[in-house]
Amino acid sequence: MQLLPGKSRRWKLIAAGISAVVLSLVGYFSYWSSTNAAMLRLLPDSLPSNPALYRFAVAEGHSVFNQNCASCHGRDLQGSQTSGVPKLTDRDWLYGEGRLSEIEQIALYGIRSANHRTKNLADMPAFGRQKPYARYDLAPLTTTEISDIVSYIELAQGRSPDMAAVKRGIDLFDRKGQCFDCHGNDMGGDNYIGAPMLSDKIWLYGDGSREAIARSIEQGRMGVCPMFKDKISPAKIRAVAAYVHSKAPVPPPAD
């Protein structure tokens, strides 16, 4: 006789427990989805100046990154010079200047990927091939010519190459090779088309040795970052962009 009321009390407890769990799940989910919506509603570049949402986005983005990007960029975002995957923690951006909106564009549409909004304006021609460039006509370069250009790049790197070679290299850089057209007269690069700076110590491909530089010129390069637009949700894209943004130094404010 005493059992029954006790049993029903247990049932009540269990029911209360279950509804508490369900309620808190519902609560968490609605918090989560409304925060996601709030994060998405902001303009991408104003997310960082909204600390609570930014923190939320960065935390969400961390796991998105590990699942989708780390296989190439590495969990530590250090990339790989042997595979031409850029480091994402430095200030040397191939494209743009590291603003959240720019990173989001790449996460959405990738680089040299299959979408008209992808970044695909130039490749590094393969000057050691008979037809170096698919997009327009360029003359191939001989091994000696490539070596002369490398000497010029070495000079810009602050090393001390053979100056006669440098002189020939300058001419080749400015004329036959048309390197200036993409990399700039001062080798400063072009972050609109993704042509890297050649005068700094940051290399996308290889270790910056003479041989490594020559190989890039001879073989050509066209790195691909896949697009994620239809693979992961807009909220995850925004979040992963925030995560990458949080790992790189803040660019100086625009004037």
Partner: protein, 320 residues
């Protein structure tokens, strides 16, 4: 089953319960009145028909009422993404959205809405099967689309090595050939020209300076090849007959006299660097690029096969 619990004192006097019971009874009667039921049904049906008609005639009846947070506009249910809007505004005005004024913002948004409308209209009118440019663009789009997945992760070192071994020939430097090409102009006296060329070739073989020898025997430098040229370029400039003899020689060697339409030639080799196979370590990045492109091509071929397998293609007898 639990024994019925004794009724609590409260329920005895509780008017709310009575009230509820009364209410339920009333509602039951109200809703089971046949005339009323008919009326309610009729009103519902008319309302439904009006809604459907509105939807049919204006296309607005079915529209999504809200703009999802990632979009700046919805055009017939398709989003114009905020990220796209921000990017397009930047590339058109050359400044970040925050600095663009209201007119600029509106202009870009209008353009994007118009584009979306036109694209949708184009699909409606089956533009893809009419316009050759649209067809080409579609073909290209599908080709690239099926192969994007080829590059979601990097291949392993072993996969790359196997690929390199299979395609060794692709991984070598280009050969370079430098020559001085002399001709003894045939003119009216081909026999003398040939004698001169033969004598010059012999003299150079014996170690004499080619330029001096050429002057002595009236040979002219054609200047067809300047400095070291890549093999294929030298081949174009010299022509096959001269090139094939010259490329087989080492630096400092000279060909015999080779008779050509413009007179006998003597080719002196100043430089000859044959192609060198590139080691895996050095070719690795190129191998990676080629590997990925190959994979993409294979995926495209698979897609083609898949489409053919599931398609219903009939070819007329005469054209099979």
């Amino acid at each position: 089953m639990a024994k019925p619990q004794p009724k609590s004192k409260l329920s005895e006097t509780a008017t709310p319960l009575d009230h509820g019971r009364k209410m339920a009874k009333y509602m039951f009667e109200w809703s089971t009145n046949p005339t009323r039921t008919l009326w309610i049904g009729a009103i519902g049906a008319i309302f439904g028909l009006v809604l459907a008609g509105f939807g049919l005639l204006t296309a607005k009846g079915t529209r999504v009422r809200t703009v999802p947070p990632e979009a700046v506009a919805m055009v017939n249910g398709r989003p114009v993404l905020m990220a796209d809007y921000v990017a397009q505004l930047e590339s058109e005005t050359g400044k970040p959205l925050a600095q663009a004024d209201a007119a600029e913002r509106k202009k870009v948004l209008n353009e994007m809405v118009t584009e979306e409308l036109f694209v949708q209209r184009g699909i409606e009118t089956d533009e893809p099967s009419v316009d050759p440019d649209v067809r080409n663009a579609l073909v290209n789009a599908v080709e690239t689309l099926v192969s994007v997945d080829a590059v979601t992760k990097l291949p392993t070192e072993d996969e790359l090595r196997v690929y390199y071994e299979k395609n060794r020939l692709n991984y070598s430097t280009l050969g370079v050939l430098g020559v001085k090409d002399f001709v003894a102009p045939g003119g009216s006296d081909p026999a003398t020209a040939l004698q001169n060329a033969q004598a010059a070739a012999a003299a150079i073989k014996a170690g004499a300076d080619p330029t001096i020898v050429a002057a002595k025997y009236n040979l002219r430098d054609t200047g067809r090849v300047i400095g070291g040229e890549l093999y294929f370029a030298a081949q174009i400039h010299l022509g096959n007959a001269l090139y094939s003899k010259a490329v087989a020689l080492k630096k400092g060697q000279v060909t015999d006299a080779i008779v050509q339409p413009d007179g006998p030639h003597v080719v002196f080799v100043t430089e000859n660097t044959p192609p060198v196979a590139t080691r895996f370590e050095d070719a690795r990045l190129q191998v990676l690029t080629d590997y990925k492109q190959d994979l993409q091509k294979r995926m495209q071929a698979n897609e083609n096969k898949f489409l053919r397998d599931r398609a219903d293609i009939l070819v007329a007898k005469a054209f099979q």
